[in-house]
Symmetry: C2
Subunit: 392 residues, 2 copies
Amino acid sequence: MTISKGIQLFPRSEYLRRLAAVKAEMARREIDALVVSNPSNIAYLTGHTAYSSYVPQGVVVSVHEEEPTFIVRHMDALAAFHESFLGQRNVIGYPENLIANPDRDGYDVIIDFLHDLGLANRGVGLELGSLTLKTGQAHEKFRARMPQARIVDCSRAVDWIRIVKSDLEISIMREAAAIASGAIMRAAEVIRPSIREADAAAEIIGALVRGANGKPGTAVTDFCMCSTPRTGTAHIRWSEDVFRDDSQVNLELGAVRHGYTAALSRTFIIGAPSDQLRRLHEAEITGLEAALDTVRPGATCSEVANAFYHAIEKLGFRKESRCGYPIGIDWSEPTASLRDGDLTVLQPNMTFHLMLGNWIDEKLGYVISETFRVTEVGVEVLTNVPRKLFEL
Amino acid sequence: MTISKGIQLFPRSEYLRRLAAVKAEMARREIDALVVSNPSNIAYLTGHTAYSSYVPQGVVVSVHEEEPTFIVRHMDALAAFHESFLGQRNVIGYPENLIANPDRDGYDVIIDFLHDLGLANRGVGLELGSLTLKTGQAHEKFRARMPQARIVDCSRAVDWIRIVKSDLEISIMREAAAIASGAIMRAAEVIRPSIREADAAAEIIGALVRGANGKPGTAVTDFCMCSTPRTGTAHIRWSEDVFRDDSQVNLELGAVRHGYTAALSRTFIIGAPSDQLRRLHEAEITGLEAALDTVRPGATCSEVANAFYHAIEKLGFRKESRCGYPIGIDWSEPTASLRDGDLTVLQPNMTFHLMLGNWIDEKLGYVISETFRVTEVGVEVLTNVPRKLFEL
């Protein structure tokens, strides 16, 4: 391929380090090949973030090869080479006539490749939950065409490896966090009476794309703007309404730098808050600080969550939902959880979205969150805006 | 729930019409219950478009009940009631302690509900490809906890029903198409030498959110801006580069109104195009018109695609990839395909994204597309910008 390489966010050694960790896990599971289908795990192992997961794809990691091989739709192979650290021979575009073809698809090409490598009769890991045929038959295809293989579900194996970030990854997350912080401050400028929610959203999303400190956002991710009378809801984007003199706005947004996400939430009110909202805000701040004070290597996710729960309960409030989750290439990584009973032990360079949104009843909802990193001795909050109820 | 209903885009009768079609298909497949997990199909059957598919959810359609029941995370139940046409009793929020809980999750609540309805020993349809546990074990859970059920994979059953839109749906898609058209014209204003790609993207995405004719966009969807030297790629969002005096920009974007998407692509060039690019553009326009001339009820998807292929081949070009796909609540509906050999017969009010992007080699790529509707006698193109190579 004659196309140039794009920005290489990480040196080759960083990817080889990640792959070594994956291969160690493969050895533990006694598999020779791992087919990685989850787009976030593909980004982690290669640097590829362009759209391509809408059809079958897979990064095949072999314990016998240094570099994995990315098998992807022909149309998307150039982007995969451009964005990833992979060499030319390690990006294989499969033919366009396999798209929307009921008889043969990209998974057949992956299976052929495993046969060619001589691995189709060995232990083969699949991410069963990330196969994208949308018919539930992808798994059966692998079984039928590799009857000698011992197929092992490795759905979260790579996710658990990437829960601990490298310093290089942390530096990208800091860039994303700066963008998220700038967008919240932009929201404080544009949320005004008689402004349409959509127009405010356009400005805030524009800030997320333009970025901060000369570093643009590289994608648009989920964006939730739940305003009066919808402050009891959590995940509505924005409505067709206009802000009014007493509108409350619960804003949860994320900024993305080359796949890495930092998320941040704040609550805004036009005019003065009710006593009830102010009391809830104060309790949440107390709980937030208690949770952050608990963060250190060796503490568990459960301890962090319970520090929050206990602090707000003393102040007369409860929160039913969990207190957050790991964040990185995904907004919400599907591994640990900041909830009562999750005994995952915090380690340095784990990153979390401490999400303390609290929907007390159908009229009283409030959001506050931070993206933080576990340090060698405690916590570093990556996002940086005032921890206040923004009165506009 | 005391929260108000949001904008109801469609009357109840429209949803009941859709549900009647689903129930007819269920009768054909001899199932009493259908668990709909695909977020687009959930939007189709209820009107719900807020984020909720990141954890298990399901709309349970029973042949014995007029209205379906939406089982969703507690945190998202208020939004589901607010946005959907469903009555209070037909939105069930499941407890927050089932989130990130390895022992019991939202699917258990759906299974309990099927048992309560007395349907767990009947034919039960699942959308196997849309179960969201990300471990591949969701299917096994249904099998294990409903051993008497005859489980039928209905992954694309609802998708095939929604391929034909109602006039009410078409009117929403026209609104989305107007927004997409406005965004392409905005792109022609902001793509200029020395402007960062991200800043142009921010303006164009802002136009997609602000909307057109007083109708805002209601979500941000995929956005591809593949610029020199990446015009051979198809699906990169934007880069950190600055446009130069001879930059080419292949822009593919979509506008969303309450879930309904209209997509549109055009190619932009700063300065004069090469002869090769101009010849490709002219061939593509000839092919586009030939394809549109073929569209009428009774024609097949294959005929439309081949009209394009034959027209450009006469002019010395080839295109390897397909020519488009149905569009509606999804950007790309997973049913018919505008490709050689797809014998799906066009019917009035089917809508397609006629996507004629053509990546001839690693340096020569070009995009043009339209969103169209099949009419009673031919075609209506919903998007509306000049079919030109935009020379800036």
